[in-house]
Symmetry: C3
Subunit: 335 residues, 3 copies
């Protein structure tokens, strides 16, 4: 695809070469994210960070990514007082707001709303999550993390062995990750969940059509013995009818250091889309894993900044100019 | 007036030459708003964007205007937790907050509050709307839009023919626009509303005292046959005692493409202060006008950025230095 | 202490030499705060201004201080929708958020939370207030103000005569100020409050252990006759069981110009942590003091910016480079 001026709305719009281009640019962003240097390439540009549904980390991650490229951020959170309550169409909102910025990141509680907004926007729109529909930058950062974690051991996404664990029914991130994996080859996917929270059948079908090897299981320990990645997810209480129903499943597939040591291959990478539920009755990934160097969950979050920088740089067509506008970092950084 | 260090509180403080100066500076801001170049003229300056009443678009428009001049923005929205609830006077709030920035834009739900705040502020204050009282930058962007739209056809504000349509009783923007028009000559104003929502008598009187030709009507189609501008407004449901009362008037003066084609002169410009109510029972300006090149409603919103840049540049006395600090734009812009 | 990369969590971590270093750097920030020049020393750096409890003035003050050093600010206010409600530990929140910025300022309603957050953070954390526990930058700005106000009359913190007045039980700021004063010599402290709102005994003890002269009184006028500083505080209604109980004490120790003239030495400095309660039944510091040049309450707020700039500069180790990255201010400033 031609990224310049494009909207980034769904992982369905990417081919494998697009993913590889995004990751190549993300790699080039690392010295900036690590504060080895800074850049002014987007000096004077404005991101409209329009979160019509609150979100601290995704919002701050997008905003920080834009700042790291030298740009400014204008923001909104929530829309209880917005013009939408006065009968304004999403078309009008988009026409107006797109006059205030060079690129918009938008989160909205309704499925499809971000695409509708993008159709009327005069600047590129990045989907920051539209309900339970799409959250493409999250899927990209997951895949980027897999690539980065396996790099040192000369393995890649082709030939990947991954277990996905937990609430696979409601987990938007694992759905998207599966779709992205369909662009790659020879992946072994083990899906570990209670039958009631199984991965939707159409996604399993897509994986099989892509030639991948899919195993379904209700048992954790045997499923994580021969994988590169153990990808755990949170029981999304807010998607259940009641707390009681969620409680039936909470804590079912706990991974802790003892289980890891006993069952996993050395260096099996542990991932999670965050937030992880650390309450005693959930404890999906035990705190005793915090010292395990293969716990990649915070590197995932860090990689989100790289991937979002890459998306901004590509959409605004400055990927090749970032270094030209570099300047030294003057301040202390412990990174 | 001398703009340097001045508060911008009310359109009543302007003479015609002041308006012309603001518009001249707004014209010079266009290359920056269109991202043909960027400027660092306010690099290091801070706008305190103090919205004690939420507003996405006015707040973001002011903030973006300041960013486009190279400045930084610190913001607040709402005041449910502010010191005001602990008995702090507006005087104290102003003394404190004005120590944090170089200029303040303030919105506040109470009439007169922004002027009271400005009296105690140590930096210039721009009124971003104080209740139903004043919103001077909105009135300026309306008038600027009229000037810009008519420029190509060698017409101007002197000699203007304008119809104002809808809720003329509650519409703060049309009140202010009428007052500004009193600074110009030979304007023909047609006021179209139900009698219960008529333009306040004192404003009609002011227009007549300025020598303008005022016609009052309850009928849309005949009122828009010979005008340069058809300025439609929203039935402001929130100002009525009940939704039912507002419903009596909603949708009374709908303008759509068929009516436009049948009754208007070619190139009649359509304006609206936004948000327009696009719900089926309101539909003040039908969506089928969206393809009409004379629908100027989004250019109005865009012009708001130019006018606000001009106000900042004048009040901070950098209007003549903007170009001196210009630098090239590196990124993609579809504008 | 070595400031580089350090967390600033509590005034207990400072020795006298640390305070003096902070104040020395704060002095050097004055030309920037007064807009005589601007600096780019933190250009490209990001402050995560994480206010998990709303606060307009402290939040904006920290943000403005960072902007004045050339840095960018990403913010959050409140946490009703945050991951914490999904069972995320403060450890995880800290690991994630510290990946988005170079330094974090954090306010949180729970005592000790900021320290817990800091322990997991990968970047320096400044405590912006954790419940009724610590708010170190407020204590520093109070002490800095005392130093600045007395400078012109060749007096200093050693040998200071100060009266603290009002709700000394709940006032976090006076507690912290007393602790800081223990680092200095020969201070005379008069504590004026109703017995029910007296300064906690352990703090009185600390002052006496430091060799200071402590007087306890229930009477205002005789307590302010021979002091350099009259430090008034607000009856913190929100800390009482009921408004009625707070009303018992409200307005008990009013200071106005007549009392000042009759009882105080000329040039006695009036301070208050703000907000002052200006409602008729409270009126701790009467509005007729607003013209008194010794009313230092707004200079206190201004000094907060200097002290916070100093903390950022020290923690990020750029205190000695601020001038190297200076550039001229182009815009009007009435300061």
């Amino acid at each position: 695809m031609d990224f310049t001026g494009a909207h980034i709305l769904s992982i369905n719009q990417f081919e494998r070469s697009d993913i590889e281009r995004i990751f190549e640019v993300a790699d080039a962003m690392e010295p900036y994210a690590l504060r080895r240097k800074a850049t002014r390439v987007l000096e004077g540009a404005i991101l409209g960070n329009m979160f019509f549904e609150p979100s601290t980390r995704t919002r701050v991650s997008f905003g920080a990514a834009f700042n790291l490229l030298g740009g400014e951020v204008r923001e909104t959170t929530g829309f209880q007082n917005s013009a939408i309550t006065k009968g304004e169409s999403l078309y009008d909102t988009a026409r107006v707001l797109s006059g205030y910025s060079d690129v918009i990141c938008m989160r909205h509680p309704e499925e499809g709303s971000v695409s509708e907004f993008a159709a009327a926007s005069r600047v590129p729109v990045l989907n920051g999550g539209d309900g339970s529909n799409e959250h493409p930058s999250q899927a990209l950062l997951d895949l980027y993390t897999i690539r980065q974690e396996l790099k040192d051991r000369n393995r890649g996404i082709d030939g990947l062995r991954i277990a996905m664990i937990g609430d696979l029914k409601h987990g938007r991130t694992v759905h998207s990750l599966c779709k992205l994996l369909c662009l790659f080859q020879n992946v072994q996917v083990t899906l570990v969940s209670p039958p009631e929270l199984a991965m939707p059948e159409d996604i399993v079908e897509k994986l099989r059509e892509a030639g991948h090897d899919v195993t379904v299981s209700e048992e954790l320990t045997h499923s994580i013995t021969h994988v590169d990645i153990a990808y755990s997810t949170r029981i999304q209480e807010e998607r259940f009818k009641s707390k009681e129903e969620a409680d039936l499943y909470r804590g079912r597939f706990r991974l802790n250091q003892a289980i890891y040591t006993q069952f996993c291959e050395p260096n099996t990478v542990i991932m999670h889309p965050l937030p992880r539920d650390s309450r005693a009755d959930a404890n999906e990934l035990d705190n005793d894993l915090n010292q395990n160097p293969n716990l990649a969950i915070f590197r995932q979050a860090d990689n989100g900044v790289l991937v979002r920088m890459a998306l901004f740089a590509l959409v605004l067509n400055v990927a090749d100019q970032v270094d030209k506008y570099a300047h030294p970092v003057t301040w202390y950084s412990g990174r």
